[in-house]
């Protein structure tokens, strides 16, 4: 495979941004400098969705929503303790099993480096072994005195994982924040590739507040404002590892995934699958009984209903500092998005 270095760089640059749920605008300027040039205009709505618009130039063209969430799981400070330690609670589904000995950044008056503490084997009590501590019991070590720390941090200050990226032996890449900014990079790349072949006006919504589920409402309200004719929702999808079941996961390296379930539009999905097939893009189907675990159910039920196709970038070790994706899948997702927003056939069927 020819590795698209530009896409790889964009994935890593975007994933390094601080965008803990509720703080999506923290690196707003950097976001704009990374992707702004590919769009005609952009704005941020009331709940923090960042909308980038690219017009096709045709009168009365359909409005195509491409949604991919921008926020990332993280933590916030709950107490400043003696000796310069912080306690935190989770924002979104943080896996406490990966926290100990992880590097974090505390986004206070200035970014502060911190380490999540652990107990060395030398000091462990026998009854503690094997138990995972709850997140509130963990301490973040900042190396500051309490008085200094209180000037920089307060209760509620957000905390994110420190950016770190590795290229694995087989070429896959590992790091934090790929959920979901790797998808942001792929859809931007797809829209960029589409050039002036767009079948409608494209509204790229980098939605806010996905990771906190029902307490979110980013995509729901964002889609209401945009009022699209149809939508594509791109999110990372649970990748297969030795400790997971085949029918609950997708293969990392197996191509972009398309979700079949009651929430996704049957016809739109079918047309997208056919499009992908005809263009030789590597794909796989992911079947679920209920929802999608993405923004699709919310967008689908916006206004009088919006037909959605739900596509996924397979990712291993979700919600950790070592999420793993395959650049061939990223490239496939970019190609899919490109073909989707260029498809006159889909536009014809789904334009209101």
């Amino acid at each position: 495979m020819v590795i698209n270095m530009e896409l790889k760089e964009l994935i890593i640059s975007l994933s390094s941004l601080m965008s803990v749920t509720g703080y999506e605008s923290h690196d707003s300027d950097r976001l704009e400098s990374l992707i702004g040039e590919y769009f005609d205009e952009n704005h941020t709505d009331k709940l923090g969705n960042r909308i980038f618009v690219k017009k096709c130039g045709k009168e009365g063209a359909p409005r195509i929503l491409v949604d991919t969430h921008m926020d990332e799981i993280g933590m916030f400070v709950t107490e400043i303790k003696d000796g310069g330690f912080l306690t935190v609670t989770n924002v979104g589904g943080v896996d406490t099993g990966i926290l100990q000995a992880s590097d974090v950044v505390i986004y206070g008056e200035k970014p502060i480096f911190g380490v999540v503490g652990s107990t060395p084997p030398h000091l462990q009590k026998p009854d503690d072994a094997g138990k995972l501590r709850e997140i509130g019991e963990l301490l973040i070590d900042t190396g500051y005195k309490k008085e200094e720390l209180e000037k920089l941090v307060r209760v509620g200050t957000p905390v994110g994982f420190a950016p770190k990226y590795s290229t694995l032996a087989g070429g896959q890449i590992a790091g934090k924040g790929f959920d979901n900014k790797s998808c942001v990079a792929c859809v931007v790349e797809g829209i960029k590739r589409a050039g002036n072949r767009l079948a409608g006006d494209v509204y790229l919504m980098l939605s806010s507040r996905e990771e906190t589920g029902r307490a979110g409402g980013g995509a729901l309200t964002g889609a209401y404002n945009i009022d699209p004719d149809y939508a594509l929702v791109a999110d990372v999808n649970l990748g297969r590892t030795p400790d997971t079941k085949k029918n609950e996961t997708v293969e990392v390296g197996g191509g972009v995934s398309l979700t079949l379930c009651p929430v996704t539009d049957k016809k739109l999905t079918k047309m997208t699958v056919e499009l992908v097939k005809s263009k030789g893009i590597k794909y796989q189907l992911d079947v679920t009984g209920g929802g999608t675990g993405t923004n699709t159910p919310d967008i689908n039920l916006t206004r009088a209903g919006i037909p959605c196709v739900d596509v996924g970038l397979p990712l291993k070790c979700m919600h950790t500092c070592a999420e793993v994706i395959d650049l061939a899948d990223s490239d496939a997702l970019a190609s899919l998005v490109c073909e989707f927003v260029c498809s006159e056939e889909i536009a014809e069927v789904f334009a209101r």
Binding site: G97, A101, L168
Partner: protein, 355 residues
């Protein structure tokens, strides 16, 4: 060396991979530094690197720090290209999931991987409360088949954490392998300071192998060199955390090197401990007494070697040792070097024996 140079030396040493049993790359860096300092060295049959600063009719005195660090060794390559592994040294499984690692590839080039972890979405409520066992974990090197994995690594390939060296807070350092590259760095610092000085000792500086599993390198080095005195430079656990009462704090960061009275492997020489404390007081060097009997180090074998050796251990108080993120205070690093220098240059056997 300036403080900045000392930090850079520590950075360079910590970032080298040297899991127990595969210390060659660390030894290479140390030999290079010794060469620059103008010292001759030998490497013994186990891999210990030894500098001898000889002086006839002076007490035989051994200073040591170990080159190895905790890590892992591949013990199975699965059909779908994942690596199962065992720990090298004592590692709490709870610091492993979701960490980046580096393995020494078949052709000597580093192979990057991560320790995989089932997504929280797939974990049962019970799994969310239970630490995974190391035998159930796997390293993901981003390949899909065993054959592909085997082109990079083999059974027996070992590796360590891939963790950044970070200066943070108020003079703190976070890195992997501080245990015990810090000791190695202090030895190199002091070797620089005593170069061409007339010393009251027949001195051996030993950079040892395989401390984390069985204190092996130090054992054979001590047996071969038969010192009368031994100083071990180490890292020690601290427990200087909020809510821990003072008497349960093993040691505290920023208060100087910790001198052990006893640990799980050694009873230290009372006279030598008193001598070290009095020198520290005289020269105004901060030190503290390690409060709690825990851990052990190379002194465990050294003090029992041959006909017995008077042992002293000076340890850097280090939070979270044996994890990818060990934390020390730079002031302790610097003052430990001062203390070792003072002990060597002001050595007085009579004072130790009469203390």
């Amino acid at each position: 060396m300036t403080g900045k140079e000392k930090i850079e030396l520590l950075r360079e040493l910590c970032l080298v991979c040297g899991p127990t049993g595969s210390e060659e790359k660390v030894a290479d860096v140390i030999r290079e530094k010794l060469g620059i300092l103008g010292y001759e060295y030998t490497t013994d049959r186990l891999g210990n690197v030894i500098v001898h600063i000889s002086r006839e009719d002076a007490p035989r005195f051994m200073v040591s720090a170990h080159m190895d660090e905790v890590g892992f060794i591949v013990n199975e390559i699965t059909e779908d290209g994942y690596l199962r592994f065992a720990a090298l040294g004592g590692i709490d499984p709870r610091v492993l999931s979701g960490k980046h690692v580096i393995l020494e590839g078949n052709d000597g080039t580093p192979v990057q991987g991560i320790i995989g972890s089932k997504a929280i979405h797939h974990q049962t409520p019970e799994e969310r409360k239970t630490a995974k066992k190391i035998k159930d974990m796997y390293i993901d090197i981003g390949v899909k088949k065993r054959e592909e994995a085997e082109s990079f690594v083999s059974l027996g390939t070992s590796g360590t954490f891939d963790s950044e060296f970070v200066l943070f807070g108020d003079g703190f350092i976070k890195s992997k392998a501080i245990d015990d590259r810090l000791g190695c760095a202090i030895m190199l610092d002091v070797l620089g300071r005593i170069k061409d000085k007339e010393l009251p000792l027949d001195l051996y500086f030993c950079f040892t192998v395989r401390e984390e599993i069985g204190l092996s390198g130090a054992r054979t080095a001590a047996q071969a060199l038969s010192p009368e005195y031994s100083v071990v430079l180490e890292s020690t656990a601290v427990a200087d955390l909020p809510d821990v009462p003072e008497n349960s704090r093993v040691s505290e960061l920023g208060k100087g090197g910790a001198i052990s009275l006893r640990d799980r492997s050694t009873i230290y020489d009372r006279g030598f401990v008193r001598f070290a404390l009095s020198i520290a007081e005289k020269d105004n060097i901060p030190v503290q007494i390690k409060r709690y009997v825990s851990g052990g180090n190379d002194a465990g074998h050294i003090h029992k070697s041959n006909a017995g050796v008077r042992a002293l251990a000076i340890s850097a108080p280090s939070r979270y040792i044996h994890s990818p993120a060990c934390v020390i205070n730079e002031a302790d690093y610097f003052s430990m070097g001062d203390l070792l220098y003072a002990i060597i240059t002001e050595f007085d056997a009579e004072e130790i024996k009469n203390a």
